[in-house]
């Protein structure tokens, strides 16, 4: 499904390039990605189970649905007067992350979100929503700008992950993610993160250290893609549906594991079918949480944020009696 979409987009680019635009590089790049995708792509999933609850793999497909609302759709609908800010002041500007100021229910807020492209041209620009270090550094810059003025931060996460490329490694993508995570614990304004589509690994959590972490009903949030997990653990990338189930990457599981605070319901069939409904529900939730967080003194806010993540994890205490 995704690669059919991609194929369509490559065609589109080819048409564009017939009009005199040189897009050969972009097309080659896309074709490489398509080839990689094909190798990873799985057989069609079995039809949905008769239960009303969707299968985890179905959810993965919905989270990646090409018609799903993306970050800019949320910004447009949830906020007013969005003013986009660009650049990390160090190296470049990364269009895979959108940052800016906007008014949310009358309150100026910082918006940071990963952004996928709707078509081939935009996907080249947005790098399929996979940010480079400069994207995360821009995000940090703008969040700190907001902090200076007391503006709360709203992040929207929809990324397969940070971009796996040479330039990203050269510019210390790992360090950039680490720095963002660290600094988010000291940002003296409320932070609300929402996983709206794909919450892909380190590239997601670097924007998701929030006082509240919300998640759309059909979003996913995982330490690794189902395909990657299947390739490594099962030595068979086509076992992605099984991996998806094993990883417990959907909102209901994550709520149970204490990783997220609230699931934002979607209409049957996914957010893209009735976007206004999902947007309305998310807006109400953001408003409610923001209201609560703005009432907290900064010190308490930061302590609670730290304690929230300090608690995460499950392990077994070994009773002393069992030790030899």
């Amino acid at each position: 499904m995704i690669y059919e979409e991609l194929q369509r987009q490559i065609e589109q680019l080819r048409i564009l390039s017939r009009n005199g635009l040189d897009l050969s590089e972009e097309i080659a790049q896309l074709e490489a990605k398509l080839a990689a995708l094909k190798r990873q792509t799985v057989a069609p999933a079995p039809s949905p189970s008769p239960a009303t609850e969707l299968d985890d793999w179905e959810r993965v497909k919905l989270a990646r649905h090409p018609k799903r609302p993306y970050t800019l759709d949320y910004i447009k609908s949830l906020t007013e007067d969005f003013y986009e800010l660009h650049g990390d002041r160090l190296y470049g500007d990364d269009a895979a992350i959108v940052t800016g100021l906007a008014r949310f229910e009358g309150q100026t807020v910082v918006i940071v979100g990963t952004q996928k492209g709707r078509d081939a041209t935009e996907n080249v620009k947005r790098n399929f929503g996979m940010p480079h270090p400069e994207g995360y550094r821009k995000a940090l810059r703008v969040m700190k700008l907001g902090e200076r003025f007391g503006f709360p931060v709203i992040t929207l996460i929809d990324t397969p992950g940070a971009y796996p490329g040479v330039g990203a490694e050269e510019r210390n993508i790992g360090g950039a993610l680490a720095q963002n995570i660290y600094e988010l614990f000291h940002l003296k304004v409320p932070v609300i993160a929402t996983i709206i589509g794909e919450g892909g690994s380190g590239g997601a959590i670097a924007l998701a250290v929030g006082d509240r972490v919300l998640m759309l009903e059909n979003a996913i949030y995982s330490v690794i893609t189902p395909e990657g997990c299947a390739a490594i653990l099962f030595r068979d990338a086509t076992k992605a549906p099984e991996a998806a189930r094993a990883l417990r990457l959907t909102a209901p599981h994550l709520l149970r594991l204490g990783v997220i605070d609230e699931v934002i319901p979607e209409p049957p069939g996914g957010a893209h079918l009735e976007p206004e409904m999902t947007l309305g529900t998310l807006k109400e939730a953001l408003q409610r949480h923001l209201c609560e967080l703005l009432a907290l003194p900064v010190e308490l806010l930061l302590r609670q944020r730290r304690e929230k993540f300090q608690k995460m994890g499950v392990y077994e205490e070994i009773p002393e009696s069992s030790l030899s």
Partner: protein, 301 residues
């Protein structure tokens, strides 16, 4: 806290013989020469003929670095749970995998934390063991690192993290990802207490650990031969469909791209640590011996 003395958590640093010592000689994988195992061990697990670095387990690392007899295990008595009820395709459940790793390594977990002295300076060490499911970070490692940081603050010791890890532990799913945030959140306590955090990256330091606590050191050292990066070579190659630079993600690559302060030969790591620690000396507990005694007393109470 009497458990610290018990076998399950104790790292046996001074055991005279090892399981794998079935023969006295080994063949170096780099130069092909036959070398005397004892000599290799005495030489920091470096081939005496060609200088090739052999793998170091966490106990070996600790032995290499700390003042003799100064190490004391301060691990929390915890082991991995199975929150996802995760089963690999081959049918082996995660708890079995843990059990196998425990049996193979003699360790309870993929990380050992302990209190020690290095050149007389008080340190809290957190040392990963790559043999234990690739030294991957799950809930236990996250908690032990936080425990180590809390101890460093309590004892006014430097925090020294030695990474040897493939990243997050997939079998714990999202909870392993959360350890990136959990460990990073604890790191601030060191800054607030004005205590140094020295991060040592070895072969390999990648993915979820590299993109969190390992990259947050005040001083970052890479052991010669380290592999440092976020995404694995294979995945990158598959994505960009190009050959990677020859030195990609090597120690030298990390140094040239400003990611680490210095590259250090294994045999110089202890001396280098002492050099660094000496510059922070006034901030650390003045008499390490006293601190250890104090800790022991508290532990008994």
């Amino acid at each position: 806290m009497a458990i610290f003395g018990k076998k399950y958590f104790k790292v046996e640093l001074d055991r005279p013989e090892r399981k794998d010592d079935e023969t006295l000689w080994m063949k170096c994988k780099a130069c092909g020469e036959l070398v005397f195992k004892k000599r290799v061990r005495e030489n920091n697990n470096i081939c005496p003929k060609c200088g090739e670095y052999f793998f170091l387990t966490a106990p070996e690392r600790i032995e290499l670095l700390v003042d003799p007899g100064s190490f004391e295990d301060i691990s929390r008595p915890i082991i991995a749970a199975d929150p996802l009820q995760f089963t690999d395709e081959d049918g082996s459940a995660y708890p079995e995998k843990i059990k196998k790793a425990q049996e193979e390594t003699g360790l309870a977990n993929e990380i050992i934390i302990g209190q020690a002295r290095i050149g007389g300076y008080p340190v809290i060490l957190a040392v990963m063991d790559f043999r234990f499911i690739g030294g991957s970070m799950g809930s236990v490692m996250g908690e032990q690192i936080c425990q180590a940081i809390r101890h460093a603050v309590k004892e006014r010791a430097a925090f020294v993290l030695i990474s040897a890890t493939g990243g997050a532990r997939m079998q714990e799913g999202i909870l392993s990802l959360m350890q990136m945030a959990k460990t990073a959140s604890a790191r601030k306590m060191l800054a607030e207490a004005k205590l140094p955090f020295i991060s040592i990256m070895t072969y390999p330091t990648t993915a979820g650990v590299e993109a969190s606590i390992a990259s947050l050191g005040d001083i970052t050292l890479a052991e010669k031969g380290a592999l440092i990066g976020f995404t694995g070579r294979r995945v990158i190659k598959q994505t960009i469909r190009q050959d990677l630079p020859e030195d990609f993600q090597t120690d030298r690559f990390a140094f040239e791209h400003g990611m680490v302060d210095n590259l250090v030969k294994r045999e110089q790591l202890r001396d280098e640590l002492i050099r660094v620690l000496s510059l922070f000396a006034p901030l650390l507990t003045q008499s390490p011996a006293v601190a250890i005694e104090a800790h022991k007393k508290e532990a008994i109470v």
